[in-house]
Amino acid sequence: MADKVLMKGNEAIAEAAIQAGCRHYFGYPITPQTEIAAYMAKRMPKIGGTFLQAESEIAAINMVYGVSAAGKRVMTSSSSPGISLKSEGLSYLAGADLPALVVNAQRGGPGLGGIQPSQSDYFQATRGGGHGDYHMIVLAPSSVQEMADLTIKGFELADQYRMTAMILADGTIGQMMEPVSFDFEVKEQVEKPWATTGTKMQRKHNVVNSLYLNPEQLEEMNNERYRKYDVIKENEALCEEYLTEDADIIIAAFGIAARVSKNAVNKARENGIKVGLLRPITLWPFPEKVFAKHAKHVREMISVELSMGQMIEDVRLAVNCSVPVSLCYRVGGMIPTPDQVYSAIVEANARGGK
């Protein structure tokens, strides 16, 4: 373990981004993710990168658009209210098919809400956030190590598919420290022949734009984008399966909720209840197939969330309502306790289901 260091989740994202070759960070401070900006402010100047604290979240996301159009790896980070501000830019990035990494360390909402952890931006993240038909690849880390690993993966997927990858974290994972290793291989960056890097009179000029006044053309752009999304849905969905093979009851939870749930699952197993955990690592694409597979043998699924019930809709869609799906939740910055989840398991077990 000699190569492991203790680091906050937010810092792990920043360090991983640098190792992924990201040399441009634009942000605006907001709790609970400011450590990302602080880390970048310290490191970027030393490695020839750019750290810029913009005048607002909106400015920062548009700077991301500019650097991405020029073909460079670029990122921004914020927390819930700041992501709402960035939503216009997220839609423009999608419309122009530009890769970017965006981090949302979620806090309780709506409005300015609070600064404690939350998962209530699930809809906003998985349905795109801004206007128009589009998606982002949404990655949900549940440990500091995954904050680093998924940041690398996020940059790679973003470049590969020319779209935004969002790290949907929360205040807890951002603030907590755990051992993390940066002992990973970063793939060589893909060519970006579409980037606006200057023609040098050698090629036709590239255009990066999201304005298409011809409806036939705009329709085809949308169709093409959704054909790409189909490929992503087919190939990129990720899910951790924990004690699911013989399970009568399955918990669905991501991020911090999955960690709490794991404690409850272990306790329930000790007490003879056959319960397992499905932890989506990609929230979009949602790992539908894994859920559909397990729907055949479970009596009930329980969605554990730090929201009023958002992911539960995707769980229900994935199992096509073939099993009952119940909700166990806390909101406003509160986190369900392992005991609360355990009680939900015991109740589900008593119901007998199906």
């Binding site: 203790l6 807890t172 907590m176 960690r259 404690n263 272990n266």
Partner: protein
Amino acid sequence: MTKEYLFAGFGGQGLLFSGKVLAYKGLIEDKNVSWLPSYGPEMRGGTANCSVILSDDPVGAPIVLNPDVLVAMNLPSLDKYENAVKKGGIILVDSSLIERKVQRTDVDVYYVPATRLADANGTGKLANMILMGKLLDVLGDYNEETVNKALAKCISARHADMLEFNRKAMEIGKNYSENE
């Protein structure tokens, strides 16, 4: 085995730092560890706390609700968490800041006038590390080599003098006996 620690007191008492030293000690000893601070407005002068978990298994929820060990550095923290400590657990009290006694009879309690000791020994604000020294001693877990390594991980080389102060503070805690 899993042990859960809660450090609680005022912002500025170095609770997050003690937690970090303990977490690094765990990491050096090849344990799974997590460290979670409270990061709310309380960090600017109100009550602050820090959850640390050391375990042989992967750490699940990083939030410590029922600690095996509570280190209380002010009265509101003792009031808030005394009853949350597991039966048979340990409570360490900075008795120069908390006048009342612990009411529980099913836990081991250690009173250390850490803030007074820190002042008297010229280690300024290091009451937190005096308590840490006592804690590791009580746990039978005071390994000088790992302690020094953990401190070195938490204090940058530029502040070598601070490293020495911290080490000294931990020793004061280790050697403190309530009969003194």
